[in-house]
Subunit: 405 residues, 2 copies
C-alpha cells in the first residue's frame, strides 16, 4: 500500500475542524487547555471501542448509548482534568448535558454528539466552567485547530500525539488523521487512552466498526504502561465521506486498503502513547515470533512488556534476559523453553534456551537507545505479535505517588 | 484453636537441625551466608508446592522428581545468589550433584535430599565452592542454626523471616516452624518465594500435602509484590513424627487443627515476605468481602494489591480510592459498582459506589502507618478473601534497575 504522511492530524481529512480551549476545569485558573472539540461539516459515520472495565465512567456510558442508537456523529466534546467517573447519577446527567450544550451551540441534533472525559476520578464536573468552555470552543473551531485539540486532551502526557496519512483508494485520495493521549493507566482493553480518528473516506458503518476493531487489536490493545485498565478509555472514528470515493464495504480490496491504513495510524498513535508512559525514558517493543497461535503470541508479548522486572532492567540498561524468559514462562503461552531464541536489539542472548556469551558493551549500547527491541523466537508455531511499552523509572513512582493531591 | 508462638523457627520442632554458611557463591569473597542446610534426625514425610512458571529452574525439576519417587526427605540444601535457572543440562546435573554431595556428607540416601536455589538466572553454579559449602554446612548443623539458615536463603530481603508455634493435637504438643524469603518477583503461583516448614507432627503424606496446598492458597498465593512469577518458587514441609502424636489423617478433627496451624504459620511468613517487598515501606492488606465466589474474592483482592497505581498512591499516602475501585473493576470479579462500600483503614471513602466526603487528615494518618488495610464490600455474595502486598517506592526501581550488574 502506498501511503504518505501529511501535516496535521484530525483536521487533515476534508471537512473537519477542531479546537482546544482552557476551561479551567480544575478551578486553578491556569491557562492549560483542557477542553477539546472535534467537528465535521457534515454528519459522519462513526464507530468506537471502549474500556472493558466494569466500572465505566459516565461519558463512556453516554457515548455507548449515542452510538447504539445510530452510528452517526458530527461532533465530539472532550475534557481533561476530570474523568467524570464514579460520579453516580449526577455524572450521567453532566455527561448528557455536555452533549446537549455542544449540540445547541453547534445547532445540530444532540444524538450526533459524543462525549469523553479523562482525569481525576470521583469529583463532579464543574458544569458552569464546562459550559463556558464549550461556548468558547465552538467560537474557535478551525481547520488548523488539531494541535490545540491534541494538547487539550493531555493529562500527564509530556507531548501531544498527532498523525495523518493519505492513501489512494480506487483512484480517490483518502485522508486519515488522529490524536491520542495516554500516559498513566495504560494497558490492553484499554487504559486512560483516548484516541480520536477522523477520515474523509466514504465507508459503511459495519466496515468502519470492523476496521476500527481489528486495528485496535494490533495497536492500542498491544500497549501497556502499568497494567491498569481505566474506567474511561475510548477510541472513536468519524468518517464523513467528503473524499467522495465509492463507499467501502466489508470483504473488499478497498476495505483491506482502508483497514491497513487505519491500523497504520493507530499503531503510530499507540506507540506514541507507550513512548510517553508515565516516567518513561524509552520505548520498549517486544516481538514474539513462531508462537503456537496469535493469541499466545499476544499474551507472551504483553507479559514481557508488562513485567516490572523487565521494565526496571531496561531502565537500568541491564541485559537481564533471565527476566524476559521468566515473563514468557508465566505468560500462559505454550512453548518449550529449551527451543527459545532471544534477542535484545541485534544481540542474541539465548540460543535454544541456553544463555550465550555476548558482548556486554554492545548490549549496553543497544539498551541505551531511545527504542529497545526485544525479540523472542519461541519455535512453537507460525504466529507472531508485537507489543509496546516503556521502562519503569523513578519518575513513574513520583508521578503516581501524589497525583490526586 | 489454642496456639502459642515459640522462639526460633525450623529448629523449634523436635529433631531438626539447621545451619547457614558463607560459601562465596558469587565469587566476591564476602562473608554473606549463602548456603543453608536443614536436617531431620529421622526421615520425615514431605510435601511441596512449586512454581507454575513453565520455565522451571533445575532444582525445581530435581526436587519435583525426588518427591514424586517417594514423599520422604531427611535434608534440604538451599543456596542463594544463583538460581540455577536457564542453565540447561548442566544445571540439572549440578542440582542433582548438590543432593548427592549432601547425602554423602550426611550419610543418607540421595533420594532423601531436596535442593533449592534462588538468585541470578542463567549462570552456572560454582560447584567447587558449593561443595566446600556443603561440607561446612554439615559440620555446623545445630539445634539453634535456624537463624543462620533464614539468613542464608535471603537475596534482596532486608530482614530474615522466621516463625514457630505450638499447638495441642489430641493431648500431644506439636510444633511447627518455618523460614521464608521473598523480596522481588513475588506474586501468586508463586514468585522467588522460598519457604521451608518443619514440624514434629506425625501425619500421613496425603494429609501433609493437602494441608500444605490449602494453606498455600490462603498465604503465599495471596501475596504480590510485582506481578512476576519466578522460575524458582518452592514451598516444602517436612514432618518427622517425633512429637509422637497419633498419626493425622485427612478429614479428621486433628487434620483441621493441624491445617489451621500450618495456615497460620504460612500466613505469617507470607505477610513478612509482602512487608519486605523490594523497596517497600508499608505492608498493604486488601480484604474483599461479600464477593460472589471465593475465586472472585481472590482475584479482586489480588488485583487491588497488584495495581501499580494503588501501590504508588499508598506510597504517597494518597487516599486515591478511585484507583481501588478501578482495579476492582478490571479484576474479573462480577459486582455492581453502585453497591460497593470501600474503606481505607477505618475511614469509609465510598458508600454504595459514591464517594463520601471524608476527613483527609484522618485518612493521611491511616495511610502513614506501617500497615495499611483496604477493605471493599462488594455486596455481591458471601465469599471473602485477603491479599497482601506492599507499596511501590523509588527503591523498587533502584533495586531492579541494576540487579544483575
Amino acid at each position: 500500500m502506498h501511503k504518505k504522511q501529511v501535516d496535521g492530524s484530525i483536521c487533515a481529512p476534508l471537512g473537519f475542524k477542531a479546537t482546544g480551549v482552557a476551561a479551567d476545569i480544575n478551578g486553578k485558573e491556569n491557562s492549560k487547555k483542557d477542553l477539546a472539540l472535534i467537528w465535521s461539516e457534515v454528519p459522519a459515520v462513526a464507530a468506537g471501542v471502549f474500556t472493558q472495565n466494569i466500572v465505566k465512567a459516565a461519558p463512556i456510558q453516554v457515548t455507548l448509548d449515542v452510538l447504539k442508537k445510530n452510528p452517526i456523529l458530527q461532533a465530539v466534546v472532550v475534557n481533561s482534568r476530570n474523568a467524570n467517573a464514579c460520579t453516580g447519577e449526577q455524572g450521567i446527567k453532566d455527561a448528557k448535558r455536555m452533549c446537549l450544550l455542544t449540540a445547541h451551540a453547534l445547532d445540530i441534533p444532540e444524538e450526533w454528539v459524543a462525549v469523553s472525559s479523562t482525569g481525576v476520578i470521583g469529583l463532579p464536573l464543574p458544569m458552569s466552567r464546562i459550559e463556558k468552555g464549550i461556548q468558547a470552543a465552538v467560537q474557535t473551531l478551525s481547520h488548523d485547530g488539531d494541535s490545540d485539540a491534541a494538547i487539550a486532551i493531555m493529562t500527564t502526557d509530556t507531548f501531544s500525539k498527532q498523525f495523518a496519512i493519505q492513501i489512494d483508494i480506487g483512484g480517490t485520495l483518502v485522508t486519515l488523521g488522529g490524536i491520542s493521549k495516554g500516559s498513566g493507566m495504560v494497558h490492553p482493553n484499554m487504559a486512560t487512552i483516548l484516541g480520536f480518528i477522523t477520515t474523509d473516506a466514504k465507508i459503511s458503518p459495519e466496515a468502519l466498526q470492523a476496521a476500527l476493531k481489528q486495528g485496535n487489536e494490533k495497536s492500542f490493545n498491544m500497549i501497556t504502561v502499568d497494567g491498569d485498565t481505566s474506567t474511561n478509555d475510548m477510541l472513536l472514528i468519524l468518517a464523513n465521506g467528503l473524499a467522495q470515493n465509492a463507499e467501502i464495504h466489508i470483504d473488499t480490496p478497498e476495505f483491506e486498503l482502508f483497514a491497513h491504513a487505519l491500523e497504520y495510524v493507530l499503531v503510530f498513535l499507540a506507540k506514541e502513547v507507550a513512548r510517553d508512559g508515565e516516567g518513561a525514558t524509552k520505548l520498549l517493543e517486544v516481538q514474539i515470533q513462531s508462537a503456537a497461535s496469535e493469541e499466545e503470541a499476544k499474551i507472551a508479548a504483553r507479559a514481557v512488556c508488562k513485567s516490572l522486572l523487565v521494565k526496571a532492567a531496561i531502565f537500568g540498561c541491564d541485559a537481564n534476559w533471565g527476566r524476559i524468559l521468566c515473563a514468557l514462562g508465566y505468560s500462559g503461552a505454550h512453548f518449550d523453553p529449551s527451543k527459545v531464541n532471544l534477542f535484545i536489539g541485534q544481540v542474541q542472548v539465548m540460543e535454544k534456551g541456553s544463555p550465550l556469551i555476548f558482548d556486554e558493551e554492545t548490549a549496553l549500547k543497544v539498551l541505551s537507545e531511545n527504542e529497545v527491541v526485544i525479540r523472542a523466537d519461541l519455535n512453537a508455531g507460525n504466529a507472531q505479535a508485537t507489543s509496546w511499552g516503556c521502562d519503569l523509572s523513578y519518575d513513574y513512582v513520583k508521578i503516581n505517588g501524589a497525583y490526586r493531591t
